[in-house]
């Protein structure tokens, strides 16, 4: 609480010159730190997703029942250490968490890329042309944002099927919305600028204007949205696989690992903890990435994402 007895002059000084501690924690350095830490976390997990076999100590699908539900640090009969313990089938939790990155990140990145491409295209078209098309696109966007999409996602996964392709499609259909909204806003702002008029006067067609002149100008906000969407879509994927609607059950995935752990909360806390930490870390990194990209690239976006 600001002390009422602080004079106004002091108050202004306080605003102009924040203390060193404040600058360290809330100012630029913290921004750099958040950006690089988030980037490093995402990079590490992406690396795990690409080469899990290089890091994982054990086969994530195989376990010995004799080794089931052993706590973190357990040493098995062959002398192998299980740093994060083993699950109800005696499988190594660390290896499963590492392999679990594959599903979450593959599906998450794919959803962001496909949703992004579709959303940007719709957003640019809507913003550039305006009129009926714009109205329709924005109504669909509003409708989708106001309705709990998880319901559609669950019904989709149950009726049409889950599997990697369906998951990507489910995420992309969720993901395009924010891209379209931001792309449209930027297109609206840019389309009356002089340089666009100039291109048109020189005979540049609609497509040329949208692809060569508008697209490069919307890239900054699009990157910001991509950061947030990655977090959002990975959460959605984890939720679906928690509900048993993810990839086929033998493939290790963070959500389904947690779902398995539910039955053994009182015997094996570690199975209920580490996959969740992995999800939270990746989503946290993606959110921080979005945040710091926004601060760096486009502070005006604050209320849009």
């Amino acid at each position: 609480m600001v002390n009422a007895s602080v004079t106004h002059a002091e108050e202004i000084d306080n605003h102009r010159l924040p203390g060193l501690r404040a600058r360290l924690l809330g100012g630029k350095l913290a921004g750099h730190l958040a950006f690089w830490t988030a980037g490093a976390i995402l990079l590490v997990f992406t690396g795990l997703a690409v080469w899990p076999e290089a890091v994982a100590p054990y086969n994530p699908r195989l376990g010995r029942l004799a080794d089931r539900h052993k706590p973190p640090g357990y040493v098995d009969a062959t002398g192998g250490v299980h740093w994060l313990g083993t699950d109800h089938q005696g499988r190594d939790v660390l290896s499963r968490v590492i392999y679990g990155a594959q599903v979450s990140l593959t599906v998450g990145y794919s959803g962001v890329i496909i949703g992004g491409l579709v959303g940007i295209a719709i957003g640019l078209l809507a913003g550039y042309h305006g009129g009926r098309l714009d109205q329709l696109a924005m109504r669909v966007v509003d409708a989708q944002l106001s309705f709990p999409y998880i319901l559609i996602a669950i019904v989709w996964a149950v009726t049409i099927g889950s599997g990697v392709l369906n998951l990507v499609a489910i995420l992309a259909v969720r993901g395009w919305v924010e891209f379209a909204r931001v792309g449209r806003g930027q297109a609206l702002a840019i389309r009356e600028r002089e340089y666009i008029t100039a291109v048109r006067a020189l005979g540049g067609g609609d497509w040329r204007i949208m692809l060569r002149h508008m697209l490069p100008n919307v890239m900054a906000p699009i990157l910001v949205v991509a950061g947030f969407q990655l977090g959002r879509l990975i959460l959605l994927e984890a939720t679906l696989s928690f509900l048993g609607l993810g990839v086929e059950p033998r493939t290790p995935a963070w959500g389904s690992m947690l779902s398995d752990a539910r039955g053994y909360l009182n015997v094996a806390w570690w199975t209920a903890t580490f996959p969740g930490i992995a999800i939270a870390l990746v989503v946290l990194a993606a959110n921080f990435m979005g945040d710091s990209l926004r601060d760096r690239l486009d502070p005006a976006l604050r209320n849009n994402t």
Partner: protein, 304 residues
């Protein structure tokens, strides 16, 4: 104003129709419910008769219209599993979701508003950074995992609350789970709105004319920051229902989310479609009410 409300109502009806149609089509695409419902020893003829009795042999658009008609105006279509008419069944469970949602909104506001104010007033301080970290965590941790951690610590180890079921003590854990996420969203919003308002000219004017800082904060800043916060609280209702769909089954809290997930698992598709319709109506109505309240709270909006 009347035109605005009418416009939004029509929009809402279109959303509800679209959602119900999408869910209905998905369900149709998943295969023949008759094959699941008849006993194993049924002949193909029995199946055909059964399909006819359920109206499954007619074109899809006819089935959809008939379903919607029956859903709203008659008891003809019943749950495959509960053998109850759909609308009363869904409303009965919606009641529990409403209780959960109401408690969540109260709990999350009670935490988020004071913390957001403290964070904004002490911008850049250790406290501010700490509060913001908690807020980001709340948005990054999957709700089902928060639910499991709460169960692990508060129910399994400390035995403070029951793991699942229906009752006064049972509502605590699902409420904390949902409120954790809601709190994160609200907290960030309260903080950023308050900071925004504090930099406005009228705050400087108030300070310049000698209004005590505390009064400036309460009377001028908080009042104006409250408007967008209230709007978002309303708009978060969709997210709240989304959270309920995931969290209710975990705690076996018998709300709409539980009913939907159970019915999906049991292939009780009439209930799935009915639940989706009610969820859509519910969210749309809340959004509409919020929009109307918004105009009432902030006369500047009404002009536009």
């Amino acid at each position: 104003m009347r035109r605005f409300v009418l416009q939004r109502l029509i929009q809402g009806i279109i959303i509800v129709a679209a959602v119900s149609l999408i869910v209905f089509l998905f369900v149709q695409a998943s295969g023949d419910p008759a094959a699941l419902l008849v006993p194993e020893q049924a002949t193909p003829e029995d199946v055909a008769n059964y399909r006819k009795a359920l109206g499954l042999d007619r074109p899809i658009y006819e089935q959809y219209l008939q379903f919607m008609g029956n859903f709203w105006f008659s008891d003809a279509v019943k749950s495959f599993r509960f053998h109850q008419p759909l609308l009363p069944l869904v409303l009965q469970h919606l009641k529990f979701t409403l209780i959960l949602a109401g408690l969540t909104i109260v709990a999350s506001s009670l935490v988020a508003v004071p913390l957001g104010i403290v964070a904004a007033l002490g911008r850049g301080s250790v406290l501010d950074v700490g509060i913001r970290v908690v807020a980001v965590l709340g948005q990054s941790m999957p709700s089902f995992w928060v639910a499991m951690l709460l169960m692990l610590v508060l129910a399994v180890h400390l035995r403070l609350f029951p793991v699942s079921g229906l009752g006064v003590k049972n509502v605590v854990l699902p409420t904390i789970t949902l409120a954790f996420f809601q709190m994160a969203v609200l907290l960030r919003l309260v903080r950023s709105e308050l900071l925004e308002v504090m930099s406005q000219d009228y705050i400087r004017t108030a300070r310049a004319k000698g209004v005590p800082e505390r009064w400036v904060t309460i009377q001028h800043a908080l009042k104006n920051a409250a408007i967008p916060v209230i709007t978002v609280m309303g708009l978060q209702f969709g997210a709240l229902v989304q959270g309920a769909i995931v969290v209710e089954p975990i705690f076996a809290w018998p709300g709409l989310g539980w009913l939907l997930v159970e019915s999906i698992a049991a292939r009780d598709f009439p209930v799935v479609v009915a639940g989706a319709i009610v969820a859509a109506v519910f969210v749309t109505v809340v959004n509409l009410v919020v929009d109307i309240l918004y105009g009432w709270l902030d006369p500047r909006i009404r002009v536009n």
